[in-house]
C-alpha cells in the first residue's frame, strides 16, 4: 500500500498534471466546467461526500473531495488523480474494485456508466473548476413546520371517542380498542375468570401473588364493583410503589454499588425509597420529573425530596487518569455528560438526543447545537452528596464533612500517631463533630450547581477544576471531538419545541393546557401556522438551567412527555406498549398501534379544564398528571380484563390467523413474571417473605435475605448471577425495556439453586399432617390459589408413592418450577 502511494506521488509529479487543463482556452474550460458540474460533482457528492468531506476527512484518510483544493491535494496516501492517466489514478483503481484493499465506495461498486464518466474526466485532463460558495455542501435544512407535526410531538388535541356499537362500554379506552378490532374484522375475547383476574391484577399492581383466602374472598364478593374495589385496594397498597418503582429504576440505571475508586453510592437506597414513596403517594408526574432534575432549585422543598436528585446523582462515572493530557480526559468527561443527557432525554422525552453528538441527528430534527445546548446543562452540574436536611443546615453538614475528610487525610500522612500534631488534628475533628450534631446523617447521592473544567496541570498532566455556581456554555465539539471546538451554544431546550403557540410567550402550565386543548382540530391536530411562530429558543437563565429544562419537558414538550409516560405505564400493564419502542418516539421508533387512544389517554393524564364532554369523558380528573388514575383507568378496562386464552382451537382461530402477535389486543397477553416477582412469589408462598418497606440494600446471595428482590444490592461492576441470568439489565445505561429470554441457565437455577430448594423445604415442612391428597391440595392452594384437578392428583399421587420427605420436597420443587407458577394468564 505504501509503495503504491509513493509511486502515485512520483507519477503525478512527472505527468503533465493540472496545468494542462488550466491552460485550456476559455470555451474548452466552459465545456469542461459544465462536464464537471453536471456529471462529476454530483457523482462525488452522491458517493463520496458522506465520508470524504472537509469536516470529516480526519476520519477518512484525510481525503476530502468537496472542494477544489482538497480534491487536487489528495489524502494521506497522496494525490488520487493523475490527469490524463486514469490507469495510474488511485481514484479509478478504487472505484474499479481492482485492488481488494482499495475499494470505494465501500457500500458497493459503482455502475459501469459512472466509472466510465470518471475515466473520461481524468483522460480529458481532470479539470476541476473553482467550487462556488453555493456548491459547498450545506447542512440539511430542517423543515420545522413538518417536524412539529410528527405524531409524537404535535399538540394533544381533543380526540373524539369512537362510536361503539356496544353502548355498554363504560370505559372510553375500550371504545378505541373495540373500534379498531371491528375495523379489522376482529372481536374482543371474553372476560377472564375471577381467579385469573385477581392473580393478574395482584402481580401487575403489587408484584406479589394473592393468597388462597384472598382469592376465595374475591370469588365470593358478588358486588357489581368487586373488581374495582380490588383494584383500589391494590393501588392503595404500599407494595404498589415497590412494584412500579423498579420499572422506573431500570430507566434511571439505578445502582447500589460502584467500583471503589468512584464516589460511594452506599446510600443510593434513599433515592430508591424516594421513588417508591412518590409512586405510593401518587405525586403528580410533573412534580416527579421536576424533583428528579432540579429538586435543589425548587422553593419550599421538604428536605427528604432532595433524594429525588439520585436520578442524576447515581450516574455512571468513568475513570479519569489525571496523569494523562487534558485532551484525553476531556473526552472521558464529555462521555459522562453524554450518558446523563442520554438517560434524561430517553427517559423523559423518548428522544435519542445523544445521536446528535457528532453530527446532526440522522433521522430526527435534533441538531448538534441542540445537543451541546443541553450538554451544557450537564457540564454545569456535578455529582455531590448531601444530607436530607433543610438548607442551610445541609450545607453546614456538607462543609463539616469536607473539613473532617481533609483533616483525616492529613492525619493519615502523619506516621507518629501520638505526636502533638496528630493529637491536635484529632481534637480539631472532635470539635467539628461536636459543633455539627447532624454530621452523621445519611448522605444521599445528589447533584449540585458546579461545573467541571478540564485543565492542564503542568506539561503532562491534567486536573479537574470544579467551579461552584459557575454554569458554562459548551462549544459544539465538531465530530464529537472536544479538541475541535466550534461555536459556543447557550444552554437551552431543543429547538423542535421552541415555537410559540398563540400569543403565549412564556407559558405556564394552565395556559399550555388550555391552548393545546382548544387548538386541537379533531383526531389529528396540526400546528396552525397562523398562530405559531418559530423563534430562537430561550436561553436558560437560572444556574445550570436544570429547573428550566424540567419546565420545558413538562410544558414545551408536554405532548411528547405525556405520550411517553402513558406508553410506559401501558406497556407494563399489557406486556407491550402502544408504541413498541418506549424510549424512542422519533422517526426510527415504531408508530403507535392506537394513536388516538394514546393521545386520548395522554390528554386525560395531563388533565386541564374541559369545557364539555360529559361524565364519560371526564373519567380521570381535572387536576393533571395523576398516575394512579391512569393505572386505574387501564386495569378496570374491559380490554385489560379479557382472557388471554384463544377460544377456538389454535388451527381454526380467526383472530390468531388475522393478528397472531395480538397487536390489536383481541385478547390479553400472557406474561412471564420478571425475576423480582418470581423470586418474591416463591418467598411469599413459602411463608418466608419479609415484606418490610425500604432501607439499605442487601446482597441477594445471602441465604438469610428474605426481603423483596427490589432491595437486593445492584452492582455496576459486580452483577448478581441470578439477576444477570434472568434478564436484569446492566445498570450502566438507561434500559428502555427488558428482554424476555428463556435459557437453560435459568432452568439450572430452578433445578439446583439452594434458594428454590429452601423454599420447597419450607413449604414441605410447614404442611400439617394429613393424607397425601390433603397435603397436595394445600400445596396447590398456596402455589396456585386453586385445587388440583383429578389428573393432577393422579400424576402427583403416582410421583409421591412411595412417600418420603425427600420425595415430598422434590414434588414441591417441581411445582415451583412449573410454567403455571412463572406465567400469568
Amino acid at each position: 500500500m505504501r509503495s503504491l502511494a509513493v509511486l502515485l506521488v512520483v507519477a503525478s509529479c512527472l505527468a503533465p498534471g493540472w496545468c494542462a487543463a488550466s491552460k485550456a482556452v476559455a470555451t474548452d474550460e466552459r465545456v469542461a466546467t459544465e462536464f464537471f458540474e453536471k456529471k462529476i460533482r454530483p457523482l462525488l457528492a452522491k458517493h463520496c461526500y458522506e465520508c470524504h468531506a472537509r469536516d470529516k476527512a480526519g476520519d477518512s484518510g484525510e481525503l476530502a473531495v468537496d472542494s477544489r483544493a482538497a480534491l487536487l491535494k489528495g489524502g494521506d496516501r497522496g494525490p488520487i488523480i493523475v490527469a490524463g492517466k486514469p490507469e495510474e489514478s488511485m481514484l479509478l483503481k478504487a472505484v474499479k474494485y481492482s485492488d481488494p484493499k482499495l475499494q470505494m465506495p465501500p457500500e458497493g461498486k459503482l455502475p459501469d456508466a459512472e466509472i466510465e464518466l470518471l475515466n473520461k474526466w481524468i483522460t480529458d485532463g481532470a479539470f476541476v473548476p473553482e467550487y462556488g460558495v453555493a456548491a459547498e455542501k450545506k447542512a440539511k435544512e430542517i423543515d420545522w413546520t413538518v417536524a412539529r407535526q410528527f405524531w409524537s410531538v404535535r399538540p394533544l388535541g381533543r380526540v373524539a371517542i369512537p362510536e361503539s356499537p356496544n353502548a355498554a362500554l363504560a370505559n372510553p379506552l375500550d371504545s378505541f380498542i373495540v373500534a379498531k378490532l371491528h375495523e379489522n374484522g376482529l372481536a374482543p375475547s371474553a372476560m377472564a375468570d375471577k381467579r385469573t383476574l385477581i392473580r393478574r391484577l395482584s402481580f401487575d399492581l403489587i408484584g406479589l401473588p394473592p393468597s388462597f383466602d384472598d382469592v376465595a374472598e374475591f370469588l365470593a364478593d358478588e358486588r357489581p364493583d368487586a373488581y374495582e374495589r380490588l383494584a383500589d385496594q391494590f393501588l392503595a397498597s404500599p407494595h404498589f410503589g415497590e412494584r412500579w418503582a423498579r420499572y422506573w429504576l431500570d430507566l434511571a440505571r439505578y445502582v447500589d454499588d460502584t467500583p471503589d475508586w468512584q464516589k460511594t453510592t452506599e446510600q443510593a437506597w434513599l433515592y430508591r425509597d424516594w421513588v417508591v414513596r412518590a409512586f405510593n403517594e401518587d405525586r403528580p408526574y410533573d412534580e416527579f420529573v421536576k424533583l428528579q432534575l432540579a429538586a435543589d432549585m425548587t422553593p419550599n422543598l421538604a428536605p427528604e425530596d432532595y433524594a429525588a436528585l439520585g436520578f442524576i446523582g447515581l450516574s455512571p462515572q468513568y475513570w479519569k487518569e489525571l496523569k494523562l493530557a487534558p485532551s484525553v480526559i476531556e473526552v472521558i468527561v464529555a462521555d459522562e455528560w453524554d450518558e446523563r443527557l442520554d438517560a434524561v432525554s430517553r427517559t423523559f422525552l423518548g428522544l435519542t438526543v445523544a445521536c446528535a453528538r457528532c453530527h446532526d441527528h440522522k433521522f430526527d430534527p435534533i441538531t448538534t447545537r441542540d445537543y451541546y445546548a443541553l450538554a451544557g446543562v450537564f457540564a454545569s452540574t456535578d455529582l455531590s452528596d448531601r444530607p436530607l436536611l433543610p438548607s442551610p443546615l445541609a450545607e453546614q453538614v456538607r462543609e463539616a464533612r469536607r473539613k473532617v475528610d481533609s483533616l483525616k487525610e492529613s492525619l493519615k500522612k502523619i506516621k507518629e500517631k501520638e505526636s502533638e500534631e496528630a493529637k491536635k488534628i484529632e481534637q480539631h475533628i472532635a470539635d467539628i463533630r461536636a459543633a455539627t450534631p447532624q454530621i452523621d446523617s445519611p448522605m444521599a447521592p445528589t447533584i449540585e450547581e458546579a461545573s467541571v473544567f478540564v485543565v492542564a496541570d503542568g506539561p503532562d498532566a491534567t486536573k479537574l477544576d470544579i467551579r461552584k455556581r459557575q454554569p458554562r456554555d459548551l462549544p459544539v465539539f465538531r465530530r464529537g471531538n472536544p479538541a475541535n471546538p466550534g461555536e459556543i451554544v447557550p444552554r437551552r431546550f431543543l429547538e423542535l419545541f421552541s415555537h410559540r403557540v398563540g400569543n403565549a410567550h412564556r407559558m405556564d402550565a394552565s395556559s399550555v393546557r388550555d391552548t393545546a386543548v382548544t387548538d386541537g382540530q379533531g383526531v389529528h391536530p396540526t400546528v396552525d401556522s397562523g398562530s405559531v411562530a418559530s423563534e430562537q429558543p430561550r436561553r436558560f437563565q437560572h444556574g445550570s438551567g436544570r429547573g428550566e429544562l424540567a419546565d420545558a419537558i413538562m410544558h414545551e414538550a408536554q405532548a411528547l412527555t405525556a405520550r411517553v409516560i402513558v406508553n410506559r405505564i401501558w406497556s407494563h400493564h399489557f406486556g407491550r406498549g402502544l408504541v413498541r419502542t418506549p424510549s424512542d418516539f422519533g422517526q426510527q421508533g415504531e408508530r403507535p398501534s392506537h394513536p388516538e387512544l394514546l393521545d386520548w389517554l395522554s390528554a386525560e393524564l395531563r388533565g386541564g379544564g374541559r369545557e364539555s364532554g360529559g361524565e364519560r369523558e371526564r373519567m380521570l380528573s381535572d387536576s393533571g398528571w395523576m398516575l394512579k388514575r391512569l393505572h386505574r383507568s387501564i386495569v378496570t378496562s374491559g380490554t385489560y380484563r379479557q382472557s388471554s386464552k384463544v377460544d377456538d382451537s389454535v388451527s381454526s382461530s380467526p383472530s390468531l390467523a388475522l393478528d397472531p402477535d395480538n397487536q390489536l389486543l383481541w385478547r390479553m397477553n400472557r406474561r412471564r413474571l420478571d425475576i423480582e416477582s418470581w423470586r418474591d412469589a416463591m418467598l411469599d408462598v413459602a411463608g418466608n417473605l419479609n415484606d418490610a418497606l425500604g432501607g439499605p440494600a442487601l446482597n441477594l446471595d445471602l441465604p438469610t435475605n428474605r426481603r423483596r428482590t427490589l432491595y437486593g444490592k445492584i452492582g455496576r461492576e459486580e452483577q448478581n448471577d441470578m439477576l444477570r441470568t434472568f434478564d436484569f439489565p446492566p445498570p450502566t445505561a438507561h434500559s428502555p425495556a427488558r428482554d424476555v429470554t428463556t435459557t437453560p441457565l435459568q432452568q439450572l437455577f430452578v433445578l439446583n439453586s439452594t434458594f428454590v430448594e429452601s423454599q420447597a423445604a419450607a413449604i414441605t415442612s410447614g404442611l400439617a399432617d394429613g393424607s397425601m391428597d390433603e397435603r397436595m391440595t394445600t400445596v396447590y392452594q398456596r402455589l396456585f390459589q386453586r385445587n388440583p384437578s383429578a389428573d393432577e392428583r393422579r400424576i402427583g399421587t403416582a410421583f409421591l408413592t412411595p412417600a418420603s420427605p425427600e420425595r415430598g420436597r422434590s414434588y414441591v420443587k417441581a411445582l415451583l418450577g412449573l410454567n403455571e407458577f412463572l406465567f400469568v394468564d
Partner: protein, 460 residues
C-alpha cells in the same frame, strides 16, 4: 443460549438459506439476526473461515520486543531517550531506553524470529501470524480493556463475544456459547463480557477455573441433594404437569420453549460437567499442556472448542499479572515460562485434531509496554504500538504483519487498530463487521463503531 424461534414455519426458508450461506453453522442462534437484519443484508456476509475463537488474554499487557518483535538496534541507545520519543506520553513518566535482554533466532520454514523465552511456541511459528503493529486509544487499563473486549472505551456496549454469539448462535445447546475462564478476577470484571443491550443470553459465562471441580465452575450446575435418577423423575413430573397446563394454551411458544430449556438444562448438568472435567484427558495430553492455571485454561478451551463453544477467553490470571511496572525482566521470565508450553500444546493439539483450520486463536494483552524504563527496571503501559498473534481459522501462518518504529514504541507501518482486529475476527467468522448491527437507542450499533478494516493481507 437463545430460545427457540417463535415462528418456526415462517423462518424455515430463511434458515435454510442462512445455513447454506453459513457453511453449515447451527441455525439456532440466528434468531437474533433474523429479527434484526433482513435476509438481503445477511446475504452480503462473507464465507466463514472459522467457527470459533479462543482468545488467550495476557491481562496487564506484555512487551512485544521480549517475544516476537526484535529490536536489536536499541542496545546502542541504552539509557538514552532520543528526542523523537518525547511526544510519547504514557500513564507514568518513563526514562531512557531499556533493551530487551532476550535473544532471537529464526524458526520454522518461515524463519520468523522468536525469542528464547518461547522455545516450545517457536516450533509452531509456521502456523502463526505475528501482528507487530497493533495500537489502541488509551494507556489506562480500564479503557484499553474495554476497547479490546467491547470495541469502545465507554462501558455501555456489548463485548465482542456477545457479538459473536449474537451473530452465530450456539453450536451446542447444552453448553453456554461464550465462556470466560480466569483463575481469579480480571480488572473491570463482568463489564468485559457483558451483553449490554444485546439479548441477555449472549453474555459471557464467567468461570473461575482456579478450582477445577466442574460442579463449582458453573453456577447451579449440579444438585447437591438429589440423585440423577431422582431428578429425572422430577423432570418427568414437570413435563406431565406442564403438559396439562399447555393443553389450553398450545398457541403459546414461550411455554413450550421453557419446557425445552428445562430439559436442555437437565442434560447440561452432565454435558457441562463432562466438558469441564480435565480428568477425561489422558495423561500425555495433560503433560503436554503442563499443570499451571493457564495450561488448564488452554486445555479447557480446547475441550470447549470441540464441543461447539463459539468463544472462549482464557485470561492469564487474577488482577493484571502482566502489568510489570517493576522488575520487568525477572517477572517476564516467569510469565513466559508459564505460557510457552501451554500455547504450543494448544496449537499442536488443535492441529492434530484437524480443528486449527476452523479455530481462530488470538494472543495478546490490552496494550503493550514501553521500551523505555519506569523505576529503572520496569516498563509502563504502551498503547502506541504492541504485538499480538493470530493462528488458525483461515489466517496465514509463518508471517509477520506491520512494524513498530526502531525502538518498538509506536506502530508505524501497516498499523492495526483494535477496530481492524475486530473487523478481521468477524470476517473470519463469516460476518461483515459493517452489517452485524443492532438497533438500540435510535441507531444501529456495531462492534467496530464507525471504523475498522479487514486485514486481508493476513488471511490465507
Amino acid at each position: 443460549m437463545p430460545s427457540k424461534q417463535s415462528d418456526i414455519s415462517s423462518s424455515l426458508s430463511r434458515r435454510h438459506m442462512l445455513q447454506t450461506l453459513g457453511g453449515g453453522f447451527g441455525a439456532v442462534g440466528l434468531a437474533g439476526l433474523l429479527n434484526q437484519a433482513s435476509a438481503k443484508e445477511l446475504a452480503a456476509h462473507v464465507a466463514p473461515r472459522a467457527k470459533r475463537v479462543i482468545h488467550l488474554f495476557m491481562n496487564g499487557g506484555p512487551f512485544g520486543p521480549d517475544f516476537l518483535d526484535p529490536k536489536p538496534g536499541v542496545v546502542k541507545f541504552e539509557g538514552q531517550r532520543p528526542a523523537e520519543l518525547d511526544s510519547f506520553r504514557t500513564e507514568r513518566k518513563t526514562a531512557g531506553l531499556l533493551p530487551s535482554p532476550f535473544q532471537f533466532a529464526p524458526h520454522g520454514e518461515s524463519g520468523v524470529p522468536v525469542s528464547e523465552l518461547l522455545p516450545h511456541f517457536a516450533e509452531c511459528i509456521d502456523d502463526v501470524c505475528v501482528l507487530r503493529s497493533v495500537y489502541t486509544d488509551n494507556p489506562n487499563h480500564g479503557p484499553a480493556l474495554l476497547l479490546m473486549n467491547n470495541g469502545t472505551i465507554v462501558p455501555t456496549r456489548p463485548s465482542m463475544g456477545s457479538w459473536f454469539s449474537y451473530g452465530l448462535g450456539t453450536e451446542n445447546e447444552s453448553l453456554p456459547g461464550y465462556v470466560v475462564l480466569c483463575p481469579g478476577r480480571p480488572v473491570r470484571f463482568s463489564i468485559l463480557w457483558t451483553s449490554a443491550f444485546l439479548p441477555g443470553e449472549h453474555q459471557g459465562t464467567y468461570i473461575n477455573h482456579s478450582n477445577l471441580d466442574p460442579q463449582k465452575l458453573i453456577p447451579y450446575l449440579r444438585n447437591a441433594s438429589q440423585s440423577a435418577d431422582e431428578q429425572q423423575r422430577q423432570l418427568e413430573l414437570m413435563r406431565a404437569l406442564n403438559g396439562q397446563h399447555l393443553k389450553e394454551r398450545s398457541e403459546d411458544k414461550q411455554l413450550e420453549s421453557r419446557i425445552t430449556a428445562m430439559e436442555t438444562a437437565f442434560r447440561m448438568q452432565f454435558a457441562a460437567t463432562e466438558a469441564f472435567d480435565l480428568n477425561y484427558e489422558p495423561k500425555h495430553i495433560r503433560e503436554e499442556y503442563g499443570s499451571s492455571h493457564f495450561a488448564n485454561g488452554c486445555l479447557l478451551a480446547r475441550r470447549l472448542a470441540e464441543r461447539g463453544v463459539r468463544f472462549t477467553q482464557v485470561y492469564y490470571g487474577d488482577g493484571q499479572p502482566w502489568d510489570t511496572h517493576n522488575d520487568h525482566n525477572n517477572s517476564v521470565k516467569k510469565l513466559a515460562k508459564d505460557i510457552d508450553q501451554p500455547m504450543a500444546a494448544l496449537l499442536r493439539d488443535l492441529k492434530r485434531r484437524g480443528m486449527l483450520d476452523e479455530t481462530l486463536v488470538i494472543w495478546g494483552g490490552e496494550f503493550g509496554r514501553t521500551p523505555t524504563t519506569e523505576n529503572g527496571n520496569g516498563r509502563d503501559h504502551n498503547h502506541y504500538g504492541f504485538t499480538m498473534w493470530l493462528a488458525g481459522g483461515g489466517i496465514r501462518g509463518g508471517m509477520t504483519f506491520g512494524e513498530t518504529d526502531d525502538f518498538g514504541f509506536q506502530a508505524v507501518h501497516n498499523r492495526v487498530h483494535i477496530h481492524d482486529l475486530h473487523a478481521t475476527i468477524l470476517h473470519q467468522l463469516g460476518l461483515n463487521h459493517e452489517r452485524l448491527t443492532y438497533r438500540y437507542a435510535g441507531r444501529d450499533f456495531r462492534l467496530t463503531d464507525v471504523a475498522g478494516k479487514v486485514l486481508h493481507d493476513v488471511i490465507a
